[in-house]
């Protein structure tokens, strides 16, 4: 037989003692680790605020959105009307609150639909090879190049009273391509990783390889793509409402601006048009912050970049210096972790 006495091996490789309890909560926490940083949390907080308003709007709003107070036309903000009134005496604050629902519903629906399409096409395009992949990629690129807004305008102008679902679908169809392209690239790089090859060599069926082995590794990208699509949908919806292509029966922040524009609110009645735009910007900012958080999770360099630089600056080093000064007491930096450098790859 080939094997001379194997060298006596020590006791089983012991792992560090701190075995965490694997509760469902901690496992959930791991899946959502991408959200556990300052930027994401701030964004989620603002988003949560808007969601609450959308849900509880009926109870929070002081007036109905179309209730007219003929005593107070075009009034500046006052204790009776916190954000003033429109030319018909409608309470601007109430309109904003009721409009939140329209914006969020369409935004998220469009986001969901677009992400489903992007995942279906993008991941498939990344996994298959050859002409199948190329043609799916060409399809994605076509949707990327065709300008969305003109298409939506033309389609939306066809319908008298488009439903929320229709509007969301149209926004989704014009907006999925960006995420689809990113997903294709990621899937392609993932496909050649050894653990996927191992799964194939073990005979895992295709649907399991994609759904169970690949998708969990793509969650951050998918989340980021979803958030990006929601931003685009929100901006698209409010723009369409402002232009007047979407009928005013669907109240959202863009509709408020449409009315403001049509009824001569500019420039004096700032309370009418400024808050709506600010809300759009704020919601967009919240979503962008969430995306930054995800970005930093995916790319750890971004995460620690500022911290490391600050830590070094405290010690008198400037990262962009062209010369590294030789310090007489260079031994002062004994412990690399002083610099805030955490390098997971040094673990063995």
């Amino acid at each position: 037989m080939t094997f001379p006495n194997p060298v006596a091996v020590a006791a089983p490789a012991a792992l560090p003692v701190h075995t965490r309890k694997r509760t469902t909560l901690s496992r959930l926490g791991q899946t959502f680790a991408m959200f556990r940083n300052g930027k994401s949390l701030a964004g989620l907080a603002i988003l949560g605020f808007f969601v609450l308003i959308a849900i509880f709007g009926d109870w929070i709003a002081p007036y109905g959105p179309l209730d007219k107070d003929f005593q107070a036309l075009r009034q500046a903000p006052s204790w009776v009307h916190w954000l003033g009134t429109t030319h018909m005496g409608e309470d601007v604050l109430s309109q904003l609150i009721y409009g939140t629902r329209g914006v969020l519903v369409v935004g998220f629906t469009a986001g969901v639909i677009a992400t489903i399409i992007a995942v279906a096409i993008g991941v498939t395009a990344g996994y298959v090879t050859g002409w199948r992949s190329e043609s799916l990629s060409a399809l994605t690129n076509v949707f990327l190049v065709i300008p969305g807004l003109p298409l939506i305008i033309i389609i939306a102008s066809q319908y008298e009273n488009p439903s929320l679902l229709l509007i969301s679908s149209v926004l989704a169809i014009t907006g999925w391509a960006w995420g689809g392209r990113v997903l294709r690239a990621q899937t392609m790089s993932l496909r050649n990783r050894d653990f996927i090859q191992a799964a194939r060599a073990n005979g895992e069926p295709l649907y399991r390889i994609i759904a169970v082995e690949m998708l969990p590794n793509l969650t951050a990208i998918i989340a980021s793509s979803f958030v990006g699509t929601v931003i685009a949908a929100v901006l698209g919806l409010t723009t369409l409402a402002f232009i007047g292509v979407i009928p005013i029966t669907n109240l959202n922040w863009g509709t408020i601006l449409f009315w403001a524009q049509q009824n001569g609110a500019f420039p004096e009645f700032w309370w009418w048009y400024v808050p709506a735009g600010l809300c759009i910007a704020l919601l967009g900012m919240a979503l962008s912050l969430i995306n930054f958080g995800i970005d930093e999770y995916v790319n750890p360099r971004l995460r620690s970049a500022g911290e490391r630089a600050r830590a070094m600056r405290k010690k008198g080093f400037v990262l962009s210096d062209s010369v590294t000064a030789v310090r007489p007491r260079a031994a002062a930096v004994k412990n690399p972790s002083d610099l805030g450098v955490t390098d997971a790859s040094t673990k063995h």
Partner: protein, 327 residues
């Protein structure tokens, strides 16, 4: 060489797809306002005009769909996009041709300025990461999500109506004839300033943030460390090594965002009554001027496609790897 062939094939395919979508668009629309219009204006339209309208809108039900498709392509190649209902039956091509230069000029200049300024600021912030320069990030984030049209309205409200520094609408003073004079150029700049400014500020945020992220990633690469260790001036490392590599993905995301930029400009033109393709489209939609709408969609799509091609070419020139690498 293969690379260029593949890209050309792709763009040809996209152009074909856009034209085909354009072919099907009016046929999917409800009602038949074109026939109604034709009947109302029987005597005033020339037979050729009626023919081209028929081909564009599939009013000729005697021909099969495929035959209509062929006729459509023939029509396009002869440069005929039909007649505009709302512009006194002027040829659509002429109407569009008078508007496109304004849009391309406005968008082109604004986008280039925004890209250059945004990328530079982003590069600088990335370079000086961890310092006070990082404070720009939340500001940039905010501005990147402010809707263009709203900013335009605010800009008008502040700079035009209240302060009176800039005119609020149109590309040049009323009653003036466009001409290649300095005075006219002055008017164009004056009228174009606010819309351009709004476009620039609106898109600046996105470029700054994108570039900052790329810079931070690139600055961690070893070749930057080597450049610094060699003793090169910081400015040289920043520009020639770091920024040069970080701006490549920016260029490709620029190409991807062109469709989005077009959307923003559309509304901008509405707000400022700027006589570009965007405002034309919106007016056409309101007036149910289908030939014009269809023609505009086609032209806008092809313009975006051309811009994409240019961006791709620029990318290929700047990144030697693409010429060797296959996607």
């Amino acid at each position: 060489m293969r690379f260029f062939l593949r890209r050309t094939a792709f763009y040809a395919f996209t152009a074909w797809a856009a034209i085909t979508i354009n072919f099907f668009l009016p046929r999917m629309m409800k009602g038949d306002p074109v026939s109604a219009y034709l009947q109302k204006n029987q005597g005033r339209i020339s037979p050729e005009a009626i023919d081209s309208l028929r081909t564009l809108f599939g009013l000729d039900s005697t021909k099969s769909l495929f035959e209509q498709y062929i006729d459509y392509w023939q029509l396009l190649f002869s440069g005929d996009l039909g007649r505009s209902f709302s512009k006194g039956l002027a040829p659509v091509t002429d109407v569009i041709a008078s508007a496109i230069p304004w849009t391309v000029g406005l968008v082109g200049i604004a986008t280039v300025i925004s890209f250059v300024v945004g990328t530079s600021i982003g590069a600088y912030i990335g370079w000086r990461r961890g310092s006070k320069a990082d404070g720009i990030v939340p500001v940039a984030t905010f501005f990147s999500t402010v809707p263009y049209f709203w900013m335009g309205l605010i800009a008008i409200a502040i700079f035009s109506t209240t302060l009176g520094w800039f005119p609020a609408s149109h590309a040049y003073d009323k009653g003036t004839q466009p001409s290649f004079t300095l005075e006219f150029a002055g008017q164009v700049i004056q009228h174009g300033f606010l819309p351009a400014l709004t476009l620039v500020i609106g898109s600046l945020g996105g470029w700054i943030l994108g570039m900052r992220n790329m810079m931070i990633t690139v600055l961690d690469e070893d070749y930057v460390t080597v450049a610094q260790a060699k003793g090169l001036r910081p400015s040289r490392v920043l520009v020639n090594y770091a920024a040069r590599n970080a701006s490549l993905p920016q260029l490709s995301s620029f190409a991807m965002s062109l469709g989005f930029i077009v959307g923003g400009t559309l509304v901008m033109e509405l707000v400022f009554s700027y006589p570009g393709a965007g405002k034309l489209l919106l007016d056409a939609t309101t007036a149910k001027d289908y030939p014009l709408m269809q023609g505009l969609f086609l032209v806008i799509t092809l313009t975006v496609l051309v811009a994409n091609i240019l961006a791709d070419v620029a990318y290929a020139i700047l990144d030697p790897r693409t010429r060797q690498m296959e996607a």
